[in-house]
Symmetry: C3
Subunit: 360 residues, 3 copies
């Protein structure tokens, strides 16, 4: 695919410095791009590389120096680069139909232009929209509903009655709708609480590989529009996750927790059950959040506290042994002074009479 710089600028909504008619046939980094390609400057600390890049054009933020290159100026060069990467890497989707070796129940309804690979099983009562791709060895249980333009990668399982919106993508091995983890104590043993709810995933959600989203005990576990979930994440029963959240790998969200919109959870974060995380809150990696979080808060650590305070306390942590010794020594110094002040000046102090701190 070859585009003129003008066409790319129009696509990005940017303005051009230099020659709008030059032809661009691909992308590269500042270091690797060749003549005929376009590159981008995202981080100002690499501005010095603009001068020496061999690229025919550079995507720049406002006020950056093009160093004599053709350029497209946009508010966010990394967003612009992602858009061009999408443009240049996109391949036309060709529907392959229901392939030999796929098992589709007669009671399932599949829309137009589907691709269903061998080894995939679609149960009775499943309803699937248009332009859906089901890679090999996907399993859709009874009553599952998929919107249009859904892509389920090999090994994905969607359990009984769960619903996915339009343009949802789920990567390999992820499980949607396994039973929530609920048992009532019955003397020594545990009695299983039936998990009769479902999972509802809204439009434009993307979920990584080997993640698990449990079905609700009753009603629904919900993931809001545009939310992106990484690999190996646990979403427990009855969680409600808002829109446009970012949930990084190996995070775990316990039952009935609620996340607002645009919440960010770092990798390996734990959110306890039944709490509320406000809009735009950010939880730093490996933190454990044991109570509700106000909108916009930035927390870290276990238990999570404001990130700023956490950093300061963490910096003191390695000094704890020396602090403890200081306290012990100061206690001894205080005792000596107190003894001195109790007795007339110049008299020997009776050491044994006063309590002493012992250092470890």
């Amino acid at each position: 695919m070859i585009k003129t710089l003008q066409e790319l600028a129009d696509h990005l909504g940017g303005h051009i410095i230099g020659d709008p008619s030059v032809s661009i046939g691909g992308l590269g980094t500042l270091d690797t791009a060749q003549e005929g390609q376009i590159t981008f400057l995202a981080n100002p600390k690499y501005a010095y590389k603009v001068k020496t890049t061999r690229a025919t054009a550079v995507i720049l933020p406002p006020e950056a120096d093009p160093c004599g290159h053709n350029a497209i100026v946009v508010a966010s060069p990394s967003l612009a680069f992602a858009k061009l990467l999408t443009l240049f890497s996109a391949k036309p989707r060709i529907a392959k139909g229901i392939m030999d070796g796929a098992f589709v129940d007669k009671g399932a309804v599949i829309g137009e232009e589907a691709t269903v690979y061998p080894g995939t099983f679609v149960a009775d009562g499943v309803r699937i929209g248009n332009r859906v791709t089901l890679y090999p060895n996907v399993t859709l249980y009874e009553g599952v509903v998929l919107g249009d333009d859904v892509t389920l990668h090999a090994g994905v399982c969607v359990r009984e009655g769960c619903r996915l919106g339009n343009r949802v993508t789920v990567h390999n091995g992820t499980v949607i709708g396994s039973d929530g983890f609920g048992y009532a104590p019955d003397g020594q043993a545990w009695f299983k609480i039936p998990q009769i709810g479902i999972v509802i995933i809204d439009d434009d959600v993307e979920i990584g590989a080997n993640t698990t989203v449990d079905r609700a005990a009753i009603e629904a576990t919900r993931i809001g529009r545009g939310t992106k979930i990484d690999n190996l994440v646990q979403v427990a029963h009855n969680c409600v996750i808002g829109e446009d959240c970012i949930i990084v790998a190996q995070a775990g969200i316990a039952g009935s927790a609620r996340l607002g919109n645009h919440v960010t959870l770092g990798g390996q974060v734990a959110i306890v059950d039944h709490i509320v995380i406000g809009d735009n809150a950010m939880i730093s990696g490996q933190s454990g959040v044991f109570g509700s979080v106000a909108p916009g808060e930035v927390l870290s650590g276990t238990p999570a506290i404001p990130h700023h305070a956490r950093l300061k306390s963490a910096a003191v942590f390695p000094h704890l042994p020396e602090m403890r010794r200081s306290i012990a020594r100061m206690g001894n110094r205080l005792t000596k002074i107190e003894e001195k002040l109790e007795t007339p000046m110049g008299t020997p102090s009776p050491n044994a009479a006063a309590p002493h701190y012992v250092s470890d």
Copy 2:
């Protein structure tokens, strides 16, 4: 299904307040239940909702006020509700046999009333009990043994020679019997230690989705009767887990660790190798346990300490910077006092002569 209140009370072993002949056709929460349904009060803080529920009957703990409703009084309303939910939601199991597209080796033995879905592979030497359900794309390696009434969801793998008892349920994508992680250093490289043991899972165990239970190096990794394991949990080789344990999502148990009976591990807990966790111990979420734990202990944090002490220390943690500054200031104050007491009163102190603490 319609039952009288008397029939439900008999099923639960509870006693009735009000009219035992009323008909109950379903369940709901205090807020959502309709006439003809039964609801329950589990948490005393919602007792005020009993008055206004539209339910025909309420399951109550002893001494709660029925507010004029029909009621069944039981020791544990949430257990009773789980039992009724099971009663009302249970569907009769209809065996589908070995379906087209399932691959069952001639050398495998499958009991009566089995359901084996397409895409499932059963190897030579596998022995399977009665009323077993194998969802699509399950893989049973050679010599696997399954008891009666086992349910393996789509994508489950059970490796060579592993044995599951009766009424075991395993959710999607879980792997039973992958090789334990064992290598011996051989100069720079690692020499694989063959993992020739198996996994033995006792009756009534339930395991969530995408969990991994490794086979033993020699002998067996064991999971005791009635234990419930959540999603994305790691159980390493040669672990021995007792009966009726609860292991929450993303916990990890290292090699040869032993858990007693009725142990609870919170989400993301780590248990190091070769330690023993006593009966009824509870480890709070995200804790790291680096030494053996006595029966009944309640621990938290990394390294885990008694939960009570942990909470107190964690509350002090944000004050560390201020504590360090206090120590520095007090050191300076002490030095001044000591100088004053060393020298005759009234004489200016020679500041430079004494050591000084420096605050950060």
Copy 3:
């Protein structure tokens, strides 16, 4: 299989004490080995068991007492035992070919002596070496390349264009080449950054079950020769992992992090993005590493600090409440002393005039 002690000593490069002609037909532990078997002493604290073992021969470290047994003396008895376990447990591999129910695209090339089980899908453009075993329900996307002697267990997925070297083993449910987690903010929503790179896995790598290795945004995520990765590990896009590393279960490595050679990551460790972990560094379980690590360092905790210092500070942690109280009390004692020294000796101190610390 029966071997003479001499044959085993030759295989191990060890020297014999006793009779080189005795026959050995198997292995056991010091406790369980029978006549005709060989056992080993790895941990000196079990040396007393050598005396009473029923084994015909014992593998010993230099200078251990054979207590009258036949013995093979080697530098590392556990390595020697692993080698003998391999020798005695190895079964000859018999190629089964492409079995009925496997789906291999006409455009795929498969080497000699392959075994491809039912339910496995091999896409167009895949190239596979000799003696490869693909268990059931494996999915190889377009353009995947596998070397010789590769074993992929049931449920493994290898995504578009990824490459695995010779003698690579991947356990069940692991995903190689799922999309990296990359989005650019586009106002409120997230714009997906296409992940057009691949994963390259070098020779002799072994990867556990349900692990995820994401494809690079551009170029390649790389895992070096001989590295061993456990279950449920996350390797993010563009990571570069060196040779002979050990990465224990549930560890997570964020985007573009680089590990040197022979690095050890304990279970549940988190490595943040874009940092470098030097050769031979060891990170203890559950640690969070937020900055680059020099070669050979041994770190622990979150944020990770030298393990030695961590242990000392962690030992002080439970004393924080008592330290805080001590600081408060010492502040009060200091204030009293200062008051006394300000006023003529013997005069009552005006308590209310000085600031007081308050203990919690």
